[in-house]
């Protein structure tokens, strides 16, 4: 009887295990298929004779104009790559200090109760739909900033960057907090024992020790910022200008895809060009996330001596 029960239990467990394996594999296969699809849709730029009359690989990097609906369409990626970088950089300048500061505070200085309040609240920020953030930036924040600073353009890279910063703060905070918490207690005890103040301990001992993880968090936030669409579509003004000036309107790669894919004639050069932008974005975020992941693994190995 008991043997039968055991056998039954074993069977049940292995069924669950198989189930989990299948689900996990499906997830990986799905991502892989998405990648293949984007790749397939952008390949005609390299091989299809018909498409290559309209657009070739070289055209993406020739000139500085993105003007796909025109008698002489121009497909230069430079203005929108620059746009993405500009907005991302501004978002990080705004979000990284805020998020890491909050992480350091909640793990090193805040009392237990406060800490249990801050963490869920910041993580709740992640639940704000980006379209809401974008709408807020478009209607309210843009006018507010313009009235204070007297900028020429209401919708500009700084406006979008700040809104985007709000969107990535929770992600950076969450990872940075984990990294700081992973620093062993003994580090802090040793520093305090040698007479360092809590502030010195936090900034000169804990933060440097957690630095690989904190950088990983910042990079992870960068990956999120590059891929975020709705906020920049609404708040950046979407002018494909090749300009380093953060006070001018700008257009990102994601916003370009979102705004133009709805209309584009299926199978045209413009259509494949949009998929090529998707491919560039995919690879960019993939590489950023890979670096971030390996940094985090490095930190864990250093703190706990695993994996070596």
């Amino acid at each position: 009887m008991s043997l039968q029960k055991k056998r039954f239990r074993y069977l049940g467990e292995s069924l669950i295990e198989v189930n989990i394996k299948v689900t996990a594999t499906l997830a990986i296969i799905a991502v892989f298929l998405i990648f293949l699809f984007i790749l397939r849709e952008s390949l005609p730029i390299f091989f299809s004779r018909e498409v290559m009359q309209e657009i070739t690989f070289g055209k993406f990097f020739n000139g500085i104009e993105w003007q796909p609906v025109s008698d002489k369409p121009r497909f230069s990626l430079w203005p929108i790559i620059l746009g993405s970088l500009k907005v991302t950089l501004i978002a990080l300048v705004f979000a990284v200090p805020a998020a890491i500061g909050a992480a350091l505070y909640s793990s090193e200085f805040a009392g237990r109760r406060l800490k249990e309040f801050i963490k869920p609240v910041v993580e709740l920020l992640a639940g704000i739909p980006s379209v809401v953030l974008g709408f807020f930036a478009l209607i309210i924040m843009a006018s507010f900033l313009k009235n204070i600073f007297g900028w020429t353009y209401r919708l500009n890279a700084i406006n979008a960057g700040i809104a985007l910063g709000f969107a990535v703060i929770p992600a950076i905070y969450s990872l940075a907090e984990d990294a700081i918490n992973a620093v062993p207690r003994s580090f802090r005890e040793a520093a305090l024992g040698l007479g360092a103040t809590p502030w010195q301990t936090a900034v000169k001992v804990v933060l440097p020790a957690a630095l690989p993880g904190v950088s990983a968090a910042a990079l992870f936030g960068m990956g999120r910022a590059v891929g975020e669409t709705m906020v920049v579509l609404m708040a950046a003004g979407n002018a494909p200008l090749f300009s380093f000036n953060p006070l001018e309107s700008t257009r990102t790669m994601t916003a370009t895809i979102a705004a133009e894919l709805g209309e584009v004639v299926f199978g045209s050069g413009h259509y494949h060009a949009l998929f090529f932008i998707g491919l560039v974005l995919f690879l960019a975020t993939f590489i950023i996330n890979l670096i971030s992941w390996s940094l985090f693994q490095g930190l864990m190995a250093r703190m706990y001596g695993k994996g070596k």
């Binding site: 104009e65 993105w66 003007q67 796909p68 609906v69 025109s70 008698d71 203005p79 478009l138 209607i139 843009a142 006018s143 020429t152 353009y153 209401r154 919708l155 579509l233 609404m234 003004g237 979407n238 002018a239 494909p240 200008l241 090749f242 001018e248 309107s249 257009r251 705004a259 133009e260 709805g262 209309e263 584009v264 004639v265 299926f266």
Partner: protein
Amino acid sequence: MTKKIIITAALALVAIMAGLSLAGRGITLKGSDTLLLLGQRWAEIYMQKNPGAVIQVTGGGSGVGIAALINGSTDVCQASRSMKDSEKQKLRDRYFSLGYEIPVAKDGVTLYLNEKNPITELTINQIKDIYTGNTTNWSQLGGPDAKIIVYGRENSSGTYVFFREAAMKNADYTSSMQSLPGTAAVVNAVSKDVYGIGYGGAAYAKGVKELAIKTAKGSFKPTTETVKSGQYPLARNLYWYLRGKPSGEIKKLVDWVLSPEGQEIVKKVGYFTIK
């Protein structure tokens, strides 16, 4: 307590599913954002008058609507521009039909200015120069010394394409034009930007000033007379496209829309009647 919640949830689910299946039997209109307002008003009143009729209206842009017509995911495409040859070709490949075009209303593409802007009229060429980026300061047009903030629509918009043809003679928009998602967003931006200029359907011009267009025969704002007579240079037809000749429920709707009653709604929404 838990039981109650479960029952309520189950009931809600059934209601949603019933709603979905009901919606599946209705007529769908999809396309131009310019026509969205009008399409919704038509649908509301038509449904009031014909209990049992279900009409769903969505926007997205003329191009989106035409794509949906080709894919078979909408019955009626609302478009603020006529179909391109490449689109007709696709429709023919799939349905052996060039589509069925019904002009349902007229619109004057209006240029919006901020109410504080002293400029009241411009020629088509001056407008073209603003949108191609040749004119960048209001002082070049007799206004204050301030940069012109140029607003427009995304290139998925029928208005974008129409304006480029009718006002700019197919020249390219300046790269510094800020393209906004939707006419309402353009109006909102111009109403907040003293030195902004934007364009869109006449019905949306609330809280902004309509620019008069100066021609050899005088200066015209988009009104019923000037649009019908063609004196206003930026007038256009708004269309419904079908895959084939209208029949059954759809024919009833089309006939009503073109009837005096349907056209009365066109006026109320702020567009111009077709006849």
